[in-house]
Symmetry: C2
Subunit: 342 residues, 2 copies
Amino acid sequence: MTGAAPRLVDIAESAGVSVATASRALSGREGVSAAVAERVKQIAESLGYIANVHARSLAGGTTSSVGLVIHEVADPYFSEIASGVMRVAGRQGLSVQMCHSGRDPQIELRQLRTLIANRVGVIVVAGSGYLDQEAERSIHRELTRFTQAGGRVVAIGRHQHATDAVLPANTDGGHAVTRHLLELGHRRIAVIAGSLGLTTVADRLTGVHRALSAAGLGEQDVPVVEAPFTREGGKAATLELLERYPDRTAVLALNDDMAIGALSVLRSRSLRVPDDMSVTGFDDVPVAADLSPSLTTVRLPMQQMGEKALELALRPPAKRPRRVVMPATLVERGSSGPPRSS
Amino acid sequence: MTGAAPRLVDIAESAGVSVATASRALSGREGVSAAVAERVKQIAESLGYIANVHARSLAGGTTSSVGLVIHEVADPYFSEIASGVMRVAGRQGLSVQMCHSGRDPQIELRQLRTLIANRVGVIVVAGSGYLDQEAERSIHRELTRFTQAGGRVVAIGRHQHATDAVLPANTDGGHAVTRHLLELGHRRIAVIAGSLGLTTVADRLTGVHRALSAAGLGEQDVPVVEAPFTREGGKAATLELLERYPDRTAVLALNDDMAIGALSVLRSRSLRVPDDMSVTGFDDVPVAADLSPSLTTVRLPMQQMGEKALELALRPPAKRPRRVVMPATLVERGSSGPPRSS
DNA sequence: CTGAAAGCGCTTACAG
DNA sequence: CTGAAAGCGCTTACAG
């Protein structure tokens, strides 16, 4: 074996045609007799020819790959979104290049530059923007340049960069789940939240506060404990909450991961859910329904959000950024109930 | 704005040097005066220059991307692996191109060809091989060609293609969890399994049978209900099991997803776990510890498996395929206990 | 329908 | 240390 992958010129030679003809035949373009096209394809097949995408992209100015920036693929919120993106990409024959931002604007910027270097045609950025103005500016600049060079950008979640976006109804969701707890009779609620610097957190919290104030409660009535937006963060926040605000009857977690952490801590303290404490989540990750008690939460159609984002990106840009709002639906399950009558 | 991304020649021109010098300066190669290098870098920075990876790869014959084939990213087993791969890739400045095989050898083949077309330097294939010989052959052929052309392939899980591999101790794990149930006193066990055509399933089952026979039980004593290797599959299999084998005292699921499905069905039937029925899983996905009851399972270090796989791929190939076995550890939690004394 | 040639944006010997 | 030139493997006008 030679060890070298066959090139187009090898196929052309073997078929006794020019590379131009071979190229046309293989890409199914017009202007090649059926017989020749057939022969070329046959030969390519038998030689195991696979066109070099780099050469193709350089020569043709085309690209068949999309970049996907997520915070962390092991986080089910993002893996669901990624799955949706991959499904559409698979259908369209596109490759997806995935990278982690780790919720760090510096890293996000670096990853974006890598994607641009790789000449992806589309970039889907999932996960909230940062409230850090400075960091956002550099990201914005890079994305603008990319767009001006013909790239397409779609954000999932609110993003500083004005672009087409798929927006989960975070505020609505925060409102709905808060009202749910209020209607059950809870007044002594505590919120456990991821970093307040994330727009996702800020938006959900806005919904919470809106529902609170509609019920005559103020922000000061509902403490917000901040911690990492993860299961571990949920545990830490719940521990702190139990210590500092022992009178609470409901824990409103701003994502399911934190809620799962809360359930775990409550179980270890032998506090019954929902009898002693109600717990609610946000996102409705797949496992939420299978927890015990099953988790009352706000459903976001994550896979669809991923699909929709790439579909938007594949359409030609509109004059003004398109915004697709994805509904947030309250899902009442076993983890929430009336407060203990203390 | 022109709309076109600046090229190396633009930088060179702007800096008053040749493209050769500019290229050397930007890639930090030797043979450029510090002053010139500095100036070139400055200009590149200010113009927002990002080298075209396609051109670079074509010219230099290098590649900075790795391909990752997994069954489905929304499956936590694979998202954990993917996370490990991405972590190492991030450290090394490599891009990762991810694709789904959907546990379909035809699709896997197509995805491999796409990765090869994209001239990735490394391919990590996660997920078991298929027992389907025919399908494996084409995949094997493609990977061999890739390797001969200088590519590196590492499999996670047993794979027909003889290559460096990270091998979870599936058989050991199957053995350990079965012995655990036997030691608790269970004799009337049922297995719920993903497709028997997957090597992962076959290997885990081998461990189960080995432990069974060591305890004087035969394969015919332990029915195996086959269903999709998912939560839904776990539900379906458990429903069938309850109907066909009502005397069972333990459900041994061959992955956590199926176990979660089983727990869900048992709960809806008001069967208590582990009092009425023990349930065990396999993998130890993050949520397993947070279920209620928490899931007894076999831990596989999935993130590490992903990391290890890419690390292996980044080392030069050895004469003979390297095999790294990753230990499977029994994790005893709340979902298993002695059988009801009926 | 087919081919010769230019060119995509880089890198890397080869000279100087 | 620096530059002119060839070449990576394709595609796409441009001729014929």
